[in-house]
């Protein structure tokens, strides 16, 4: 499956280009609207589908296993913190789902890395990641893999 863009809905805002982890959503040079330049490399993560403020992106099923007439569409409402899905089957049956995206206010709990302390060499070499173990809500020390147990040829 791969994403495609409804050109009548797209307004060329660039959010899909910005968010695509495969870097395959690009801007068409003739009409300045988004397009999937490499459908074979799309892994259907739905990031662009959800990010599109105009619901202009859909995912196309391959004809051999996705029967004609089916549809899977999503509406992301950031201000409400919800994501709704509508699954439409070939026989006309539809199922609607609504899930919360987040329970925290947007932007409030995003770590401001640039404002944080600069890590020293010891912290950089350490096996724990930024904000660990506090960020994981655990007061315990995290397990680590001793360097002498690494396979020969692996250097850290």
């Amino acid at each position: 499956m791969s994403t495609f863009v409804y050109m009548t809905r797209c307004d060329g805002c660039g959010h899909c280009v910005d968010i695509c982890p495969s870097d395959i959503m690009h801007i068409d040079e003739t009409i300045r609207r988004a397009k999937n330049i490499e459908p074979n490399f799309c892994w259907e993560c739905y990031a662009c589908v959800k990010a599109c403020p105009n619901h202009a992106i859909d995912v196309r099923g391959y004809a051999d296993f996705a029967p004609m007439g089916h549809s899977v569409r999503v509406r992301r409402e950031e201000e409400k913190g919800t994501i709704s899905w509508k699954i439409k089957f070939r026989n006309g049956t539809t199922k609607d789902f609504v899930s919360p995206i987040t329970t925290k206010p947007w932007g409030k709990f995003i770590p401001k890395l640039a404002e944080g302390d600069k890590p020293n060499q010891e912290e950089i070499k350490s096996q724990v990641l930024y904000n660990e173990p506090e960020g994981l809500n655990t007061k315990k020390e995290l397990p680590s893999v001793p360097k002498d147990s690494f396979k020969k040829g692996v250097y850290y």
Partner: protein, 265 residues
């Protein structure tokens, strides 16, 4: 300068009939270009097929009055204020360019057809013409230099010109050359060539703008209103292009991903 009808001064050299003929030719070029574009891209066919699909999936039938009210609301709000662009610079730049162009075209038509042969023109029309041109240049340049998605989201250099720029650049140059020509002409340069050069540039940019409809984004101004109307009708009749309904929840969070401009390349 701003209260002078530039076409009235031009009528001393070019006959009003020739100017009117040029304007009609430009309208005809735009119409023919749009028609070829429709045939080539099959837009109208797509719209009708989409409308048929929406009718089939509709959960309720819209009455004529309701339909009219949705269309009127779409024209006033969605199209009149280009609401799809959300709140921000893109929308302001688009509104400046859109209303500037509309004013510029209306004032050009009125001044060429009604006042090009008379010595006096109501001062409002030249002011509208000049103001429209300035608005188009401001909105167009703001968009072209700072808001092009292929530049800010794809990291393309600002000086790279692509086919999609044909429309906006032709629009800016039409207004810009028109303004410069009007200014130079108001100086009464008589024997000098300056104003004539800019008159030629103004004419050429008009030909590129209206003659290049098939290759440019010109026709989007006809399709976008149609798409907005279809989208709102589909939302009202329950077909919603297969999208789920809006969630029954209150708006307690912020704008999320939309709070940041998509320029993290």
């Amino acid at each position: 300068m701003i209260t002078n009808n530039p076409f009235s001064t031009l009528s001393e050299v070019v006959s009003p009939v020739a100017m009117q003929g040029f304007l009609v030719t430009m309208i005809a070029l735009a119409a023919i270009g749009t028609l070829i574009d429709i045939i080539h891209k099959k837009n109208v066919k797509y719209f009708f097929e989409n409308a048929k699909k929406a009718k089939k999936n509709a959960t309720r039938e819209l009455k004529a009055g309701e339909r009219f009210s949705i269309i009127a609301k779409t024209v006033v709000y969605d199209i009149g204020t280009t609401s799809e662009l959300g709140a921000g610079k893109r929308r302001v730049a688009h509104l400046l360019g859109m209303y500037g162009t509309i004013l510029f075209w209306i004032a050009s038509t009125v001044m060429i057809f009604c006042y090009s042969s008379s010595s006096t023109t109501p001062f409002a029309w030249p002011i509208i013409w000049h103001a429209g041109a300035i608005m188009t240049i401001l909105g167009g340049c703001w968009f072209w230099f700072f808001l092009r998605v292929n530049v800010y989201s794809e990291a393309q250099p600002w000086y790279r010109i692509i086919k999609a720029d044909l429309f906006v650049l032709a629009l800016i140059s039409t207004s810009l050359f028109g303004l410069i020509w009007s200014y130079l002409q108001s100086l009464n340069l008589n024997e000098r060539w300056d104003d004539k050069v800019f008159l030629v540039l103004y004419v050429v940019s008009n030909i590129v703008l209206f003659g290049g409809v098939y290759w440019s984004k010109f026709a989007h101004m006809f399709y976008k209103p149609g798409a907005a109307i279809q989208k709102n009708l589909a939302e009202a009749d329950g077909s919603r292009d297969n999208l789920p309904p809006e969630a029954d929840a209150s708006e307690k969070f912020g704008p999320g991903i939309k709070r940041e401009a998509p320029k993290h390349y």
